[in-house]
Structure formats: structure tokens, C-alpha cells
Amino acid sequence: MFLRLEFSEGKHSRSGLSLASRWLLGGVISLLSLALMLAVISTDKATPGLAEWVSTHLDRSGVENPVTAVLLNFRSYDTLLEIAVLLIVALAILPGPNADAAPWLSVDERKPVSPLLAGLLCWLVPMALLVGGYLLWTGAYSPGGAFQAAAVIAGAGVALTVAGRHRFCWQSSAARLSLMVGLLMFMLVAAVSGLITGTTLQYPVAHAGWLILLIETLATVSIAAILLALFTQLHDMAAAPDKEGAP
């Protein structure tokens, strides 16, 4: 879709580099890569870093999966900022809030959709939601968690959008809230845990498990909403560039 877009820069110098300079560039980069490989092979790996620290403190984190423990407990500051980055990008791309805008999800029943596709979606979307819920829950024990779950759920929304009948709109208040709820809950937990334990984002050990689950659940909602919003906004803009809302 995007590769068909033409940019004025491309029209002026379509060919880019000449063949000789391409070969030269390729040679220089190959040498650079070889040097990097030799450097990696010839150096010994650093000592196991924080792995031992994480495994000895895992029982205080509230979860059994070390990656989730690092993401949501030991280094939860990173995750908080990451959700903030996602929200900032979504707010930059989406048109401003509008209370009179279309609802979050509107269905156009008249649009012709292949019965095979419609039947597939009837199975695929609920399955994606189910898998998303499973991934969220299993994140406490094994690989999985909010991001994986959100990616699968957003994928279901992408499938609905591409099929054509469903249209997501992110200007209503409810849709806006779904974008923000993960960050809001994370910040609330940060503030409350700061008041209780004296250190921001240091959860009380006895309550760490369900606090992490609470944050992860709402973060899944927000991340899925933001990823889907990014896709639908770009999709709408590329399909009908004149109808884009004022940013």
C-alpha cells in the first residue's frame, strides 16, 4: 500500500546511487560487519549480570516468570514510560476528541463481504480474544504477558478493519478512555505504592501479584487499543486522504 506512494524527492532522483557507489557502499558495510563479527567472536561474554539477582528475588515479585517480574516489578518504571510513549504517539497521530463523533465501532451491514471471509471472522475474532486472555494470564508463569496479549487482540481488530464492514473511530470519550486507562491505572498504582511503601512503584510484597495482574489487564486494553488506533488511522488516511480529521 505505502510503496505505491510517490514522493517528490523520489521523482527527482529515482535511481539513487550509481552502480559503482552501491558496490563501494556494499564493500564498506561488509567489512564493517566482518569487523563486528570478529569483535564478537574474540571477546568473552560478560558475567551473568543480573540473572542471579533476579532469580534470588523472584519470590518477592508476585509472579513466577522472571521476564514478567523484571517488566512489571523490578523495572516497572521502563514499562510505565513505554506505555506513555505509545500513548504520546497515538495522541500525535489521531485527530482530536469530538463528543459528536461516530461510536467506537460502527458496522456497515450493506457492504458486500465474501461469505467465506465473514464466516472466518466469526471464528477468528473470538479466538483471538480468547488467546489474548490466555496469554495475559500465562504471563505470570511462562512467556506471555500484556504486550503479547495486546498484539493478538489488536490483530483481531486489524482483521475486522481490513475485511471492510467494521470501522473503528477513536474520537468518542469511551474510545479515548480505552487508550488512556492503562497508563492511568499504572500511575495510580505508582502513587499509592509510593505512599504505602515510601518508594514509588515498590509494591507491598503481599499484594504484588494482584497489583501486577491489575496493571497488566488494563495495560492490555490500552496497548491493544493504541496499536489498533495507529493501524486504523493510517489505513483510513491512506485510503481516503481527503477525509482525514484535523490533527
Binding site: F2, L3, L5, E6, F7, S8, E9, G10, S13, R14, S15, G16, L17, R22, L25, G26, I29, S30, L32, S33, L36, M37, V40, I41, K45, A46, T47, P48, G49, L50, A51, E52, V54, S55, P66, V67, A69, V70, L71, R75, D78, T79, E82, V85, L86, V89, A92, I93, G145, F147, I223, L227, L230, F231, Q233, L234, M237, A238, P241
Partner: protein, 97 residues
Amino acid sequence: MTQDLIYTLSGIVLFGIGVFGVIASVHIIRKLIATNIIGIGVFMVFLASARHGEITDPVPHAMVLTGIVVAVAGTALCLWLALKIHLSDKRGQGVSS
């Protein structure tokens, strides 16, 4: 050991391919894809460095997971900017500027 090495070397190859793409290609979207390939190469090297024999360090894994999501967000922002450039080019063709 060999598994880590395969991952690390492939990551460096991807990094090289990405750098070539960023410099040699003209189209903005191609440059964006090449930037993503560089990112994937760096993630692979970083992930492979987390393994120390039997112990796996979870901290790089968590950081790469964070990095992937931020990379997706950055890619979306770049795509949006590219669309804006494309649209302003199209409008600018009628007006002389």
C-alpha cells in the same frame, strides 16, 4: 554456545543489510523498513548476549520486549509523517512552490 553465535552473527548481518538499505534506497518507506531491519539485528545480538550457558538473564529480554513496542510506535509515527509528506506533495503540485 553455537546457537548464541548463530544468533549474534545473523543479527550483525541484518544490521549490515539495514545500514545498506538506509543509505542506498531513495523511497522513504524503503528507508523506514531498512531502519526496522537494523533494529531487529540489534535486538537479536542483545538477546543472544543474555544467555550464559544454562542461565538466561531476563533483564535483556524485558528490555528488548520494551524496545519492540517502542519501535512499533516509532514506525507508526514515521509512516504518518511519510503520509503527510506525500499528501503535502500532492497538494503542492497545483500551487507553484
